[in-house]
Every structure is written in C-alpha cells, then in structure tokens.
Symmetry: C2
Subunit: 432 residues, 2 copies
Amino acid sequence: MTQLKKAMAGRITEEMERVAVREGLSAEDICQKVREGTVVIPANINHRGLEPCGIGEGLTTKINANIGTSSVYTSIEEELQKLRVAIEAGADTIMDLSTGPELDACRKRILEASKVPVGTVPIYQAAVEALDKYGSIVAMTAEDLFQVIEKQAQDGVDFMTVHCGVTLEVIERLKKRGRIADIVSRGGSFLTGWMLHHEKENPLYEQFDRLLSIAEKYDVTLSLGDGLRPGCLADATDSPQIQELIILGELVERAREAGVQVMVEGPGHVPLNQVEANVVLEKQLCRGAPFYVLGPVVTDVAPGYDHISAAIGGAIAAAAGADFLCYVTPAEHLGLPTIEDVREGVITARIAAHAADLVKGIKKAWEWDKEMAAARKNLDWTKQIELAIDPYKAKQYRQQRNPEDGDTCSMCNQFCAMKIVGEYLGKKAEKC
Amino acid sequence: MTQLKKAMAGRITEEMERVAVREGLSAEDICQKVREGTVVIPANINHRGLEPCGIGEGLTTKINANIGTSSVYTSIEEELQKLRVAIEAGADTIMDLSTGPELDACRKRILEASKVPVGTVPIYQAAVEALDKYGSIVAMTAEDLFQVIEKQAQDGVDFMTVHCGVTLEVIERLKKRGRIADIVSRGGSFLTGWMLHHEKENPLYEQFDRLLSIAEKYDVTLSLGDGLRPGCLADATDSPQIQELIILGELVERAREAGVQVMVEGPGHVPLNQVEANVVLEKQLCRGAPFYVLGPVVTDVAPGYDHISAAIGGAIAAAAGADFLCYVTPAEHLGLPTIEDVREGVITARIAAHAADLVKGIKKAWEWDKEMAAARKNLDWTKQIELAIDPYKAKQYRQQRNPEDGDTCSMCNQFCAMKIVGEYLGKKAEKC
C-alpha cells in the first residue's frame, strides 16, 4: 500500500512520523496532508536505507540535485561523488538523469548510496536503449517504455518524471501558437518526436492507468513532467504550456483516485513577474498538488550564472507556494556540471529555498536568521561561520581576507558600525 | 547651474542628450523626467571625461560597484584595478568608500580614471581624519564634515551619500522599538555616536541648506543615505527605518526646491515578501525620487553567497520600481572584496537588473533575450557565447566541458531536445 492509501485509511506510517519530526509538525498533520495530496513522501518500498522526506504545503521548501552520466562523461564513480557532495551540501533529493552506458548499474549504485529519495526520468533510458537497439529513438515501442518504468520502479526509484501531458492536442496548440524555442524538455522532445513520427497519441497518456498500477505497486511518486515548459522567456506562460498543465491537473485527480502520490513539474524560463502566476495556476489547476519547479531562470542571457538566475526565480516561486526546487548549476546550458558545480548549485538553491521559507513563516528558518543577526551584532565570528549556510566558504573568506586576531573585518576594521553603535547604545544582542 | 535647474528652465543639456541616446528615449523625455525629479543625472561640473548616466523611472536599472581601501588593505593601485574590472564588467557607477591612508589622493586618482559617475560617503573621510587628528571619531566637528564635503564636491564627485535623516527623533524611535542589529550603516553609526556623545542634532539635518548650497554649486547629486537600514531580516521595515524614510521624503522636496538632484537609499536586509512594500513606500514618501537599494539580501545566513542573496532581493526590488542597485560581493559580511569578487559582484547585480528590466518592459532587454533564445534553438554556440552577460565565463565552461567540434553540449549530446524537435517540427528560429 502506498503512503497515500495508508493515509486514506487513516494509518500513520513510520515515514510520516519521521517526516513530522523533521518538519516540527505532528504526525497527524502530515498524514492529513498526504491524504489531501498536498504533501507527498516519495518512498519506494524497495529503496532500503531511505530517510523519508516530505514535499509540499506547510513544509520547508525542498531542493533536488540532478546528477548522472552523459554519453560524453561516462564515469559512474564521478556521479557517485556528485551524489555525496550534493547530499553533504544539503540536497533533499537526487535525480539520476544518466544517459551514458550501463544505465542499470549506474542507477542501482546511486540507489544503494543514497539515503535521500532518488528520482529518474525513465524515458531517458528507453530512448538510449532504443538508439542502441533500433538505431533511432522514435523506434522505441510503448512496451519498451513501460518495461523500463517497471524495472526502475522495482529497483527502488522513489519518484519518476513522466511527461504524460504531452498530448496530440498540446502539440497542435504548440504548432498554432509558435514559439522561439519550441520544446526544451528532453523527455518532451523524445515523446513529441515519437508521436509525430508514428502519428499516435502519447503512450504515457493513453496508458496512464498502466503507469498508475506500476506506481501503486512500488509506491513510486509520479512527478508529472512539463514537456512543454518554456525554453526561453518569450515562450513563457503560453497556450501549449497551460494546455499541458490543464491536462496534468486532470491526471493528478486520476492518480489520487488510484492511491498514487503525485506532484507536478513547472517551468523553466519565466519572466520574474510571471512566476507567481505560474504557481497560482498550478495550485488551482492541479488541486494543490506539490509543485516542483525547474529554476525558473528569469533571463536567457546568463549562461555561466544560471544558478543565480534560477535562485531569483526559485525564491519567488517558493515564496508564492512552490514546494520543491530543482537546482540549476553554473554549467546549465553549457555542459554537464562538475563536482564543484554541483556543490555551488545545491548551496544556491538552498539559499532560494530558505529565503522562501522565511516568507512561508517556517519557525526554524526565522530562528536561524535571528541567531546569525545576534552573532553579527556580537562580533562573534566563530558563531557566524558555524551558522553560515556554507561554513566552509564563509571560513575561507574570513581567513583569507582578515588579520587573524581581529574582532571586526577588513572592510571596516576600526570603523565597524556594530562596534561604534555598541559603544553608544551600549548593548549586546540577546541570544535568540 | 545643475541639470535639474536647467531642466526646470526647459534647457536640454548635452548630458540629457547623451542619456537619451543611451536609453533609446528622446532628449525631451529625459529633460521632463529630470525636471520632475524622477530621473537624476549625477554629473559634477568638475568631473572631466564623464560619460553621463541617467538613473530613475523609465530607464534601464543601473548598478553601482563599491571599491576603496580600508585600514587593512591600503593599496590604491589595487582599488584602481577594481575600478577597471568593475567598469569592464558593466558597472554603471562606482563608489569610492576608502577609509585607508591618503584619501584625497585615492579619490582624485579614481575620479581621473573613471568615465562613469563616482560617488562617495564624505563622512568616512571626516571620521578617518577625526580619528587621526583628535584620536576619536566623535571629536569631529560639524565644520570638519562640511569642509570634507566641499573638498570632495570640488574634486568632482558626482553623487554623495549623506545620512541626513538620522535625527534625534529617529534615534529615540530606535531605542523605543529595539532591534537585534541596531545600526549597520557606517555613516549612520558615526553620526549616531556623534549625536549621542554631544547630545546634539545631526549637522547634516540641521544644516541641510548648507549641504544643498554646496551640492548646487558643483551639481552633486545627493543620495540620501539610510542610516537606519535594517542589518538583519528581523529588523526590516520597522519604525526607525520608516521614520527616517519619512524625513528623507521631506528633504527630497527641499532639495528639489533648491534645484539639487536627489535620490534616496534603501535597505539592506529585507524578507523577500517585504521588498515590494519598501519600494512602494519610498516612491510614495519621496515623491518618485530614484530609489537606490543596497541589495537587499533576503536572508542573513548566506555569507560567502551574499551576492546571490542580494540578486534575489535586488531583482524583486527593481522589478517593483527600484532604479539603482548597489552590488554586493561574495565577500560581504566577511571582508574587503578581492578583484575577482568585484567582478562576480558586478555581473551578479547586472543579472538582477536585467531580470527587472524585462519586467519594466525595456525593449532592448527583451531583444537581447530573444536573440539568445534563437541562438540556442539554432545551436549557434558562437552567438550564444557572444550574447552571454559574461562571455568570458560562458566560453570557459563551453570549452572545458565539451568536445571541440560538437553542435550540442556534453549534458545531452545526441539526446539534445533542440535537435530532436528541430527534426520533427522542422524549423529554425527566426532571427529576432
């Protein structure tokens, strides 16, 4: 039985209890939210050693780090190192997006090594194998795709991106509307190519019940992918994107009826002032299903800095109610990230998530900031570094740019405002 | 005569014409905005070789880079190198915040070397010299302070931060309200110390007309400093901050009546969901005076990444109408920035400004993003790098992480969505 089915039966699971402790909420609350579908706990029954993580309304904003080989960078060892670095840096979940060789082995090793929930996009493996087997991605059969899904579910994958909303109707709207960047979702592009080639409906849509029965069997949380997400600002919030979202909303209901946990993926590339509207739309059209946004980046012109562009969009999205942020690394749009890029991407996404958690009124988020404020006021540098979101980098800066014994910093030194005001207003910050 | 006085007399200046060309607006428009006070053109009559820059409503969002020595890092040469790097990276203005030795020489060399407007905070020099001369900052006399202001104005400083709104009334409100971080503005702390020590009103407030007459003589744009800006999220948007803003609004009117150009500085540390309110308040209380925000950072816990935290706050502020963003570097709260930090700070602030310019409907901002989108769609890597906000970093990533001759990138390679969809929807992006 899935977490959702158990919640519907009024049963509080161990996973719900552990999520409750982590969030500082009651297990009854978590159970209620899972029942309503506003929170998911991706926890495949076959993922051993998993530390369960809740994603959704009322919880802290979670962040995901994508790792995985490509046909250019094929080292599984390196991806396992990225996994460790990402988790150490604070990633709440990992997605294995490998498209290199030995996909089964790679996924199994990631699942073994990961205490956090692991997600995949099964159509990647289906596409890679179709290219190997038939020499063409579009030669893939629906059967091939479902076999991959079942295999990955059996292996213990906790959540899967499935682009069920890329329907013939949506592609028609895409053609009618016209876009600069058309489709930038890999999974979306494979399916679109397949559908146009075969002149057939999306098998993930047509056989959605089959997908549900696999998900139900292993308690895989479905992450309904946004194959039509805008790939540039000019394409944002257009008719194909919103048409797909309407369909995803309908599929959310079908998933819930089947007892399958479900969340919805979102853009992408979005102008800053459209981000909130995108969140409102998802929450309304998809009946409060957790929203998993990919960035969004708020400009197209910042390759090399897309982690920052995504932090802007992600913070705004999460403050407006998005629940789950996919990290973006500095390598986005330019190549496969390095280990250092992964680390930078995770910390940056955490900053966005935390900025939003303050807005969401998460109590421990406020406590953290207040403790830092008091440490600053008290010129307590040890505490400041300890409280930093990345103590390692904060310490590096502190050590490199300051005399060893100073109580101020090399920017102001004896002209430190904290110090001067302290003398005249004569007080230390209270411990928070 | 100041730009404002000329605008009031209906005269279109060369500076207005040059600003108009840069912004793609008519000189009449610029003149009108300067007359209304919603745009300033900081252009000291003694700053030779200046390329004038407009700041305010309807123009692109501008960004400032702070440089300057401290008593720990005293090299003027290094600060001049930061100046060059900042301008190359796209800073619209520079502030010399030096507190090291030889302040006059340092400022003069920066003014000589800078084609962009240069700002200062004169009370820094007054404080440094008071410490030298009398052994204490608070021993500074009002006369000392005004002499420094006059000297800096004569040297050609284009805009000056003056904390005129730190009045006894405001300090009373600060004591009454209570804060974790009290005052974090250096200038604000010097003045507060001085006022509490002498039990006297702020000379910059009491003798505001004297300040105006100096500013009017050299056409120095006053940047009314926010001495009470919050230094942590918990202190944001509180009564001392807003009390000071009310006073600054009154001073804006007095400056305009005297024909002196004026803008207003803002926070600081602000929760994401209070940023817009801060902009609205400034625009209302200060009658549309250009708003110059310092970040704002949206969390206290990100030392080492405060450029990113500030990009989140800055983008939201500028999208809501802030006109001018002070950059924040990764060294913020930890030490004086290095040259590399300055570069990173400028590019990051430009991303925030540009994300906001898209929202502000700046036409050339949209053209830029659309061109990049088309270059991506067409897998035109040369163009993508050329259009990147930092072509240098984009090129580095591209070269390091990709085979030399590929038309895709090492993340997706043959599974590139752009390529696959291009085959089936069969079109290239139009040139924008």
